[in-house]
């Protein structure tokens, strides 16, 4: 192995009592695509922040081309030649591509536009420099972010979960770009928890678990099973693939729903139809921002229709389009939204008070006053039954990790014993073990005869839990596909609208 481009020795970083990184050693070789593999919360993001100068380590040394360096700020990291593409993009939607780039990189717009085109040609990152960002797809936005990094001619490019936002086809294109970059002398640190991707393009993988390095291997020489064990410390639970059962009566029905949102940047829904029966799981696939959040608000009642259009949304045999969330819940509907903090839960309130949010009908009120004992009992049961890691019902919701809060909200909604359960992005930011538990719960609910609707960006997840899948693209919802017989590529085509008009 040649002399490393970047070396870390004994990097340690703690946040209060939590040790996010403990004595991490890492060597990134030149011309290499190096994976950092780990569950959510394993310390990947912290490590990247240390390398990019966003945070300072408590202890440890950094060597760049063999010389010790001190990284105090992202600016310094950039001067050395380290670039980073964050998971969540930092582009101004109302500006054009070249305007966004000119905020960071010096030069006239004409020269910058020429550079953008040139980089696009060389690395397969074609994007129109004068397009406004809000009109670009997620994949194109990511290209803009990568181009912006490449403008500063980095030697090392850090990509934080770059594929989590992309449809399958775009992942292939991204990998092609990364290989070309490597061949031109740019090393890449590729952060992910998806084993197949790492095996596809990485030549080295450092595996983190609970803030420590648990493996440093060539991923092509190990099978997914080995890597998973290093990552989660035990064997992966087997995939579920629920047995087909005969579904019962229709519990949720949308027929040709059209909706123009109030938000000017929202997505208009056109002719959205779906029908969900008792005892089945229907999945809605698609890249975020294609109308899923508008659809979920219409189903939950957070956005209401006029009285005249009440039958556009039918729940448990009743037109509910004009009803608010409370009335729909009273019918037997429960909902886990994709935003946990600030929507599914109030961060400043205790878990007990967050139970009250939707479970107040479970005997927690007496003549308009809150029964604190009942509230605490419900919350404690939720914490116990759904394995929420927290000091107790009096902990503030905002203090829980994303995965634990999701388990709590799932638990709260399931404890309502709904007839229709709607979950948006059930395992976003949830670690692998907890995600498996959540998926098992969803299938268990289905087996008990609950009608379950799931919106997810993760195709593997949908294939694992769903009976049927429909795909959302630009406000249209495709026809229903059988999850057992449909291939991922087919769904992927619908996700990017490659099948022409999705009906």
């Amino acid at each position: 192995m040649s002399a490393p481009l970047l070396s870390l020795r004994g990097m340690t970083k703690g946040y209060g009592p939590v040790k996010a990184n403990q004595a991490i050693d890492l060597d990134v070789a030149p011309n290499s695509i190096h994976a950092i593999l780990g569950e959510n919360g394993a310390g990947k993001s912290t490590l990247m922040k240390l390398i990019y100068g966003v945070e300072a380590p408590d202890a440890g040394e950094v060597f760049w081309n063999g010389a010790p360096v001190h990284l105090h700020s992202p600016g310094e990291a950039r001067r050395l030649g380290i670039g980073m593409v964050f998971q969540h993009f930092s582009l101004f939607e109302t500006l054009t591509v070249v305007e966004n780039i000119s905020l960071i990189v010096a030069g006239t717009k004409a020269t910058l536009a020429a550079r953008i085109r040139e980089l696009g040609r060389d690395f397969g990152l074609e994007v129109d420099p004068f397009a406004e960002v809000h009109a670009l797809s997620v994949g194109e936005r990511q290209r803009v972010e990568i181009i912006r990094c490449l403008m500063t001619e980095p030697k090392l490019l850090i990509l934080d979960e770059p594929t989590s936002v992309l449809p399958p086809q775009a992942v292939g294109l991204l990998f092609e770009t990364l290989r070309r970059l490597r061949d031109r002398g740019v090393s890449i640190l590729f952060i992910s928890h998806k084993l197949d991707e790492i095996q596809a393009i990485c030549d080295r993988a450092t595996i983190l678990r609970a803030g420590r390095v648990t493996g440093n291997v060539d991923p092509r020489e190990h099978d997914a099973h080995d890597l998973a064990r290093m990552m989660i410390g035990r064997d992966m639970p087997p995939p579920l693939h629920p047995d087909p059962v005969e579904p019962g009566e229709v519990r949720l029905e949308l027929s040709g729903l059209d909706h123009a949102p109030d938000d000017p940047f929202g997505v208009a829904l056109q002719g959205v139809s779906l029908s969900l029966r008792a005892g089945e799981v229907l999945g809605i696939a698609g890249i975020s921002g294609n109308g899923q959040s508008e659809l979920s608000r219409l189903i939950s009642g957070e956005v209401r229709l006029s009285e005249a259009r009440r039958d556009d949304v039918r729940m448990l045999g009743q037109g509910v389009g004009h009803l608010g969330p409370g009335a729909r819940r009273a019918l037997g509907f429960a909902f886990v939204p994709e935003e946990r903090l600030g929507r599914g839960a109030v961060p400043e309130m205790t878990l007990s008070d967050n139970s009250l949010l939707t479970a107040h009908g479970q005997g927690m009120l007496r003549r308009g006053f809150i029964d604190r004992v009942r509230e605490a009992e419900f919350t404690a049961a939720c914490i116990r039954d759904f394995d929420v890691r927290t000091p107790g019902p009096e902990a503030e919701a905002g203090a829980l990790s994303g995965g634990n809060l999701q388990k709590f909200i799932m638990g709260r909604e399931i404890s309502l014993r709904p007839k229709v359960l709607f979950v948006a992005q059930p395992t976003w930011g949830v670690d692998v073990g907890a995600a498996a538990a959540i998926r098992q719960r969803l299938v268990a609910m289905r087996n008990e005869g609950v009608a379950v609707l799931v919106i997810s960006e993760e195709l593997e997840e949908l294939f694992e839990v769903c009976d049927r899948i429909q795909v959302m693209h630009k406000g249209h919802l495709s026809a229903s596909l059988d999850a057992r017989t449909t291939r991922a590529e087919e769904i992927g085509r619908l996700m990017i609208g490659a099948d022409g008009v999705a009906a």
Partner: protein, 359 residues
């Protein structure tokens, strides 16, 4: 070196208790400099402002008299503030309350009976609530900012008061002064503490604090307000109506302010006149925040603010302080408090801590 505000993982209880005291200290230091610049003796000013109100029974009873309306208005406002509905127009609602209450003695100056003063209080409360209907309606209907509408409604209220006092309600025997007739005995709230001007309305205000406590800390209705204020999306998700929160916030605020206005004309003033309010409606905003928007905290902060009113009067007399200086003190106090409460939830992160780490 850069300064950044970093969110604490948990609200600091120590800071929550310390914040009002630190704010008081900071405000005193700032005003100390001001008094020095003005050539006043700060020790004499602070003695007059902060100690004299508590040093005699007569002085303290005046503090209690001022505390009543401040407490009442602040409890009403705090409920709305916690739902992030900002009713800045309590002053106008207070004036309307005074006007509505005065209608009875103005039109029935000869009436007698124990029903009169309670009826005036009820009428006054309704008047205040009515004045809050306008901003509530436009906020729910057109999303018109309630801060502006309530504030403007206060200006209108002052002109309505002027019109009545210069026109139809002017006391015919009053030498053309802009004031109503003096109210008859039965239109006056009974005195609570003999030998002082403190009347039964103080009990009503204290009782309102109890009601506010039960509502905000124990009831589901108050919980919905809190959720709406802390996380509006969570309130929508749970199905709590925003319109209901806006209506209730403004109506409760208007009701309480109107009640306070009625108690003022039927209490220490005894007639409707131009100077019925000495800025209670605005001072109550400070009181509400100084009390941490918590019903119990507001009891303490209203007492404190009332003492500051009396102390300010004392300082004007004994330390020759201009009236504006008292307002400046109140204002500095609010600014310092708002700065202090920020640190309950956030802490300062010095960029230097990054430098300090060994790389």
């Amino acid at each position: 070196m850069t300064l950044r505000l970093v969110r604490r993982e948990k609200a600091s209880t120590r800071m929550a208790v310390l914040a009002p005291l630190l704010a008081l200290l900071a405000a005193m230091v700032l005003n100390l400099l001001l008094f020095l610049a003005m050539g006043k003796d700060p020790a004499a000013v602070f003695h007059a402002m902060l100690l004299e109100p508590f040093s005699s029974w007569a002085g303290f009873s005046e503090v209690l008299l001022k505390m009543g309306p401040l407490l009442l208005i602040a409890q009403g406002l705090a409920i709305g503030f916690r739902a992030k509905v900002f009713n800045i127009g309590a002053e106008g609602q207070f004036i309307l309350g005074a006007i509505f209450a005065s209608a009875i003695p103005v039109y029935f100056p000869q009436a007698t009976g124990a029903w009169i003063w309670p009826a005036m209080l009820v009428l006054g409360a309704l008047g205040g609530a009515l004045w809050a209907v306008v901003p509530a309606f436009w906020r729910v209907r057109l999303n018109a900012n309630e801060i502006l509408v309530t504030l403007m409604m206060s200006l209108i209220a002052i002109q309505v008061l002027n019109y009545l006092l210069l026109g139809p309600w002017k006391d015919p025997m009053g030498f053309n002064f802009p004031q109503s007739v003096m109210f008859q005995y039965d239109a006056m709230i009974p005195i609570l503490l003999p030998g002082t001007r403190v009347n039964v309305s103080l009990l009503i205000a204290l009782f309102s604090a109890l009601l506010a406590w039960a509502y905000m800390q124990r009831s589901f209705g108050g919980y919905q307000f809190l959720v709406g204020g802390l996380a509006p999306k969570a309130a929508t998700y749970a199905g709590f109506s925003e319109a209901r929160a806006i209506w209730l916030s403004l109506l409760i605020g208007g009701f309480a302010a109107g009640l306070a206005g009625a108690a003022e004309v039927a209490g220490p003033i005894g007639q409707l006149q131009r100077s019925i309010s000495t800025g209670y409606g605005y001072a109550a905003i400070i009181v509400a925040y100084l009390g941490g928007l918590h019903p119990v905290g507001i009891v303490a902060s209203s007492l404190f603010m009332a003492a500051l009113y009396i102390g300010g009067d004392n300082a004007m007399v004994s330390a020759d302080l201009p009236v504006a200086a008292v307002r400046v003190f109140q204002g500095t106090l609010l600014v310092c408090y708002l700065a202090a409460v920020t640190f309950v939830r956030f802490r300062l992160d010095f960029g230097a801590s990054v430098e300090g780490g060994r790389v």
